[in-house]
């Protein structure tokens, strides 16, 4: 790998990075502890940043592709109907201390919202954002980053990549912008490349995952989906799910209003409802398995990549205790 590495010679890399980012005018978003969980939140005081966590409840998606986005305002005037675009609010944001899997989720958003459909709202926020990955040293029973190849952040997903190894703190440079930040720190060029340790999150072998594509009609789906509450928690917690709905909010006079884009979920009944009330994917089973296929099969065909980084959020938050890896293993296992 051709990453340029530096060794950090200061006392507190998080506080020092925080200081430089603030100097550059960034709003810093970092993991903080809230009750029993960690969340990504806007941080004013660097001492509140806590890197001792498995996963944050929310993900960078919540900031780059917001739950609700006003797109335009319409107005009926004497000279006719007027559409006024509402530009995205883009205060430059810096993510400080996100996991490699979440950085890779950003690179998947880049692919889908950036390259594939050039969403101006996403691109405006993304291009002004700064990403610092802190290497991951935590896992729980839901993590499976190593099964889907997301243990390390992909090139292009981060500006800086911080790795602790052998008592030293290393900083890898992802972009020129990243380099200009590192120059302001107490660092030395390092000839040594830090070791990225295995986490042991390879819960399902790649060759089994690849078999899923042929198993849309497998019998096992019916039983596996029977516990699903179709709540949509998996898709809203997912760092790469981007499906959306539209909502018009007229003012009481009906002469003007705003159209919003809001997140939705492919497991909801209304998701595939066409004019007249016909629902294309009627059954729980069809909607349940569709998510697996979009994330693990269709995206491979279209983009050559899984639309899943193995962060385990969908499984960790599922009120019915459904685990993605377990489901895939059972579907593949039932047909071998």
């Amino acid at each position: 790998m051709d990453v340029e590495w530096y060794v950090y010679r200061g006392n507190n890399i998080v506080e020092e990075l925080f200081g430089v980012l603030k100097e550059l005018g960034y709003t810093v978003i970092a993991p903080v502890k809230r009750g029993d969980v960690h969340v990504l939140a806007v941080v004013k005081d660097p001492s509140s940043i806590d890197l001792n966590f498995v996963r944050t409840v929310n993900s960078p998606k919540h900031f780059l592709y917001t739950m609700e986005e006003p797109l335009f305002r319409w107005r009926r005037t004497s000279s006719g109907l007027i559409f006024e675009e509402i530009a995205p609010a883009t205060k430059p944001c810096a993510f400080l201390g996100i996991k490699p899997c979440d950085a890779n989720a950003i690179s998947l958003l880049d692919e889908v919202l950036g390259t594939w459909c050039r969403d101006p709202y996403y691109l405006a926020r993304r291009s002004s954002s700064f990403v610092i990955v802190y290497d991951c040293r935590h896992k729980d029973q839901y993590c499976f980053c190593e099964s889907v190849g997301h243990r390390q952040p992909a090139k292009g997903s981060y500006d800086l990549w911080v790795v602790e190894d052998g008592g030293e703190v290393y900083i890898g440079i992802g972009t020129n912008r990243g380099f200009s930040v590192v120059r302001k720190l107490r660092v030395e060029r390092s000839a040594r490349v830090p070791v990225i340790r295995r986490l042991g999150t390879d819960r399902i072998p790649r060759n089994l995952l690849e078999k899923l594509g042929e198993l849309y009609e497998a019998d096992a789906w019916e039983d596996l989906s029977s516990r699903c509450l179709l709540c949509g928690g998996c898709t809203s917690s997912c760092p790469t799910c981007t499906c959306f709905d539209m909502r018009d909010e007229p003012e009481p006079d009906l002469e003007q209003g705003v159209r919003f884009r809001t997140w939705t979920s492919c497991v909801l009944r209304s998701f595939t409802m066409v004019a007249g009330g016909r629902v294309v994917r009627k059954s729980r089973e069809e909607r349940f398995k569709f998510r697996y296929f979009h994330k693990l099969v269709f995206s491979r065909t279209r983009f050559g990549r899984y639309l899943c980084v193995g962060c385990g959020r969908c499984s960790a938050q599922c009120p019915a205790g459904i685990d993605m890896v377990e489901v895939v293993s059972k579907v593949v296992g039932s047909n071998s």
């Binding site: 109907l81 849309y216 499906c243 959306f244 004019a275």
Partner: protein, 261 residues
């Protein structure tokens, strides 16, 4: 873009055609669609039903079935709506040239193939024999009657209704798919299906049962859509293709049979 309702045409008890004057010229191919927006109510996809090409005036026909379509039905001449598009991949004209074409349309499905029918009508020499098998609920529900008459000068028109509510009717009574029995199989003919789910399923199975290969059958699909750009996810088929961007027209060997509805 902003567009003005220039004319409202009553097609049937629940279908109206809007003639829309567009702010800017668009260019579209047969089978493509636009998103029409009624501020305060929302946006929905509609096939462009007028002749393809470059134009500043298009026709869309709308059946009143929900909130957006009811709002569209309340529009009067001079009202304004938003239009985005054109979107999608229409009919592959090159693949259809020099072949016999059998179009099977049911109900508002006629609107999904109208721009293609115009194209074939205006480029008659490019195609072999063209048949239009079109079915509606009752004779009063037949859409585009003024155009059917014109199209029948360049193609064979066979009509069907589910039932006759009084009045004179010389066409078939039953399913539009029954009319397929009147078409003799050539070797290389192409079938184009657009209509309600049951019609599509029945027609597809009937054709395959008669030995027509799936790659000789095309469908234009209807799915829920919010963007038209392949990102809202609503129209994705169960093989990962987007109806808005990869379709709405598909050759049947490109999609799983369960999606032919």
């Amino acid at each position: 873009m902003r567009s003005v309702v220039e004319e409202v045409i009553e097609e049937s008890p629940d279908v109206r055609t809007l003639v829309l004057g567009l702010e800017k010229e668009i260019e579209f191919t047969p089978g493509q669609f636009v998103m029409v927006s009624v501020p305060g109510y929302g946006e929905a996809p509609f096939a462009i039903a007028s002749p393809p090409g470059r134009c500043r005036r298009i026709e869309v026909s709308v059946r009143r079935v929900g909130d957006v379509t009811a709002a569209i039905h309340r529009l009067r001449r001079g009202d304004e709506v938003g239009v985005r598009g054109p979107f999608g991949r229409g009919f592959p004209i090159k693949e259809l040239e020099n072949r016999d074409i059998v179009v099977v349309a049911g109900g508002t499905g006629l609107l999904g193939v109208s721009s293609l029918l115009w194209y074939m009508h205006m480029n008659r020499g490019v195609f072999g024999e063209v048949y239009l098998l079109y079915g509606a609920r009752t004779p009063r529900d037949l859409l585009k009657r003024r155009h059917l008459e014109e199209w029948s000068r360049s193609m064979k028109l066979l009509l069907s209704v589910d039932r006759v509510d009084g009045g004179e009717w010389r066409g078939h009574v039953g399913f539009v798919t029954d009319l397929l029995d009147k078409i003799e199989r050539a070797r290389d003919e192409v079938y184009i299906l657009c209509g309600p789910p049951m019609m599509m399923k029945v027609a597809y199975r009937k054709l395959v049962g008669r030995g027509v290969p799936p790659n000789h059958i095309y469908v234009s699909l209807e799915r829920h859509m919010k963007c038209g750009l392949g990102v809202c996810g609503r129209c994705m088929l169960s093989n990962g293709l987007y109806v808005c961007r990869d379709g709405p027209v598909f050759r049947c060997d490109e999609i799983p049979e369960r999606e032919i509805e």
